[in-house]
Amino acid sequence: MNQFKHTHHAHCESGVVSSMLSYHGLKISEPMVFGLSNALNFAYIPFVKIGGMPLVAYRSLPKSIVKNIKKNLKIEMKMETFSSVKKGEDRLDELLSEGKIVGAQGSMYWLEYVPDELSFHFNAHNFLVYGKEEDKYLVSDPVFQDAVKCSKKSLSKSRFSKGTMAPKGLLYYPVNIPKDIDFKPIISKNIKKLSKNMLNTPVPIAGVKGLRYLAKGILKLQAKDKKYAKLFLGNIVRMQEEIGTGGAGFRFMYASFLQEASELFDNNKVLSDASIMMLEVGDEYREFALVIAKSIKSKKEIDFQKISNMLFQIADNEAKVYKKLLEFKV
């Protein structure tokens, strides 16, 4: 049995990677993982529906954190998917018997330790399996405050859940982590990359443009049925605050990354200023969520114009952070 200790994080995928690398001797915070993997993003894809509501995402695609960290830090990471449930189960047991801690992808819905209130069909949830006690697997799910246990049946159902982003039993673990990683060049490169991406997305559905596109979409709700409009607005907030801590939470986390980065660059002023600005943008997302929650509860007419304007303002302010970050020079 290994000496793994569970840590409570803000987000599943960045949390797994932080816990996993720290366990293997590379002490790296969750915000640093998040920043170095360029995980911040925004996309509004009205023609892709989840639960009847358009897709609103506040981060990059699932699995991109693992993949980008692997690439950017030159970590050799094994990623295995399986053609059958049996093979996937056996391989996990084998890795655990070697004393390894293993990252896994699965559907939130089928994990028995997830309470009903939080249990939705989402195939790209990440967690660590770090051991087995009798017939239960020991699971470190980063978004839970304590380590949990899970039966084989539930774990397999989750790991082999079908549909969009089907995990196919995905397991991942590092096999080689380079010593003495020089974080500075990786940080500056990825900050530039992210800022450019967010400002100059080639498609109008992502980045800052995507935020404005959604702000316009909110105005169009005026013509829609009131119940649908409320569900639409509620969905924005759920995607923002609940599913993987979303909009505000991710901005706060990125602000934390910028602060850590600033310290590494001898308290670089551009980075520390950008960190403060990003925290404020996060607060604006929270305020936006609050106004929406009030409109949902209220019997009065919804002020779509006001809600839409708030999001336009967020887009402008978030764009300012990226412009600030482009001033960053080593």
Binding site: H9, P31, G52, L118, F144, G163, E241, F252, A293
Partner: protein, 135 residues
Amino acid sequence: MKLENVPQDDSPTYAKMKKTIYAKDSKGNIQGKSSNGWEVEETVTRQALDDIQEHIKEAFWEVKNGNKSTLYFYMYKQKMDLTLLAQVTGFFKWTIKKDFDPKVFAKIKQNRLEEYCDVLGVEIDAIKELPNEPV
């Protein structure tokens, strides 16, 4: 976000869980802090859960009244909809819609029924039965 502003609204929708939020202390240092709930989030989670409950109840009575097959009920019961059920089974939507017809569903092929049971996590001898209560 300031540390002292990290909401502690003890939301029932958190189901006694806590979430980590990054916030700054009085010196501006950002760190993670646990939150046991936020009213705003509770509102939208509750809204989504209520919407699901409504679908489940409607579906229950549709089946009870003989308009729809039990498949229709279990789809909503397992927090799915037609789009999701089509994605996880790989079946075309229009073929699933046919299975919502009680007469068609009564004569469903065994392998197709097994696929539904698998993705919905319902036992094969239970999927053709309606429970006494919707929830």
